[in-house]
Amino acid sequence: MSNEIELMTGTTVGIKAKDGVVLAAEKRVSYGFYLMSKSGKKVYPITNRVGIASSGVLADIQTITKVIRANIANMEIEMKRPVSVRATAKLLSIILFQNKYMPYIAETMVGGIDDEGPKLFILDSWGSLIEDDFAALGNGARTAIGLIETGYTSSITVKEAKELAIRAIKEAIARDPTSGDGIDTLTITSSGYSEDSIKL
């Protein structure tokens, strides 16, 4: 595990639908040849309308999530309004960039719904911030992305997007040794978020 890229374990998928956003990730926690846990959670709601999902080192994923949650909770109280998806992603981007010489080993996506509609952003370890319609991150991304690439249309609904995300992660699990053991999903629409966990 000398290569940083090889530490980007797992598979994360995010799809922007016309009525919301779907984030999904598998549950495997592996260190080299050792499968340490089958119940790693990598998809988290941040607010009622914004969530994040990551691949990489679980400690880093958990830390990033907690830091963003604390900052955004505080910001929402201070601003007296729901925070935008872009603001959440930009803040995370700055935190990642500030640590660029000892980076968090995690690739993250921030998705949700705000005044401007459904939004999805992806971030690498160093904090680059890219807005996209769909994305796949982690070691399994190379396998997962093909399925989404052909299955995605801009008129996709949240329901269809969730099915597509699950199929894409299953495909990655079939060929990526660092991915597996179940799928967590987070669906965000204008009426709030719902979490789901699928056993394999």
Partner: protein, 248 residues
């Protein structure tokens, strides 16, 4: 000069009087009351910030005197009191607006900037070795919530307003605004109402005696009225009829 009870309690800002007052903060409020008249108005169409400028000497170039400032593209502020203190707060507010953009990739709310300024003002009423800012600001702008108008004072308190005035003659201006203000106005009527209210205390009605900043709801962009625009609106306000100045 001072009553026996009061003696001594105005020596340091961090000492309360037995009545629970901080005299230095109150004196800072006096500096605001003696400042040149400043008015802020919001209407359904945007926000207007205006100030009167007095000719300090026959050779002064009033165009170089600034009392209405841009904080960010969508926020402006007008000040009354010690202008040198205002500059420090304005620089701070501009910096905070840019930090917010850098952190969140969006424009700061007007209330957020107001709060940042008020927090700084409050700190200068509680720490040793400093004095309070002798300045009050009217901060206005258009953000996600629509047109917004706030006023801060040296104590660090802030309130939201539909219309407000600061400085000498502000009581007169507020009286006039209370009778003539309404929220549903287009931006030009709002500017003219501001000019009319300032005419109650203004030394003269020449264009260079006024400084007016406007943020309308469509462009959400702060801009200062040019001399040409000012002269035109002053003429229009005159033809609509200016309020009667009370006899001294």
């Amino acid at each position: 000069m001072f009553s026996p009870q009061m003696a001594g309690y105005d020596r340091a800002i961090t000492i309360f009087s037995p009545e629970g007052e901080l005299y230095q903060v109150r004196y800072a409020g006096e500096a605001v009351k003696r400042g040149w008249a400043t008015v802020g108005l919001k209407c359904s169409d945007g926000v207007v910030l205006a100030a009167e400028k007095r000719k300090l000497g026959p050779l002064i170039d009033l165009n170089s005197v600034e009392k209405v400032y841009m904080i960010d593209t969508h926020i402006g502020a007008a000040s009354a009191g010690l202008l040198s203190d205002a500059r420090i707060l304005i620089d701070y507010a501009r910096e905070q607006a840019q930090i917010y953009r850098l952190l969140y990739d969006e424009q700061a709310d007007v209330e957020y900037i107001t709060k940042r300024i008020s927090d700084l003002e409050q700190a200068y009423t509680q720490h040793g070795g400093v004095r309070p800012f002798g300045i009050a600001l009217i901060i206005g702008g258009v953000d996600k919530n629509g047109p917004r108008l706030y006023q801060t004072d040296p104590s660090g308190i802030y309130f939201g307003y539909y219309a407000t005035a600061l400085g000498s003659g502000s009581t007169l201006i507020l009286e006039y605004l209370e009778k003539n203000y309404k929220y549903e106005m287009d931006i030009n009527s709002c500017i003219k109402l501001t000019i009319k209210s300032l005419s109650l205390v203004a030394e003269s009605l020449e264009a260079d005696r006024f400084e007016i900043g406007v943020i309308d709801i469509k462009t959400k962009y702060f801009r200062k009225l040019t001399m040409g625009e000012l002269s035109k609106l002053i003429e229009e306000a005159k033809s609509e009829g200016l309020p009667q100045k009370p006899s001294a």
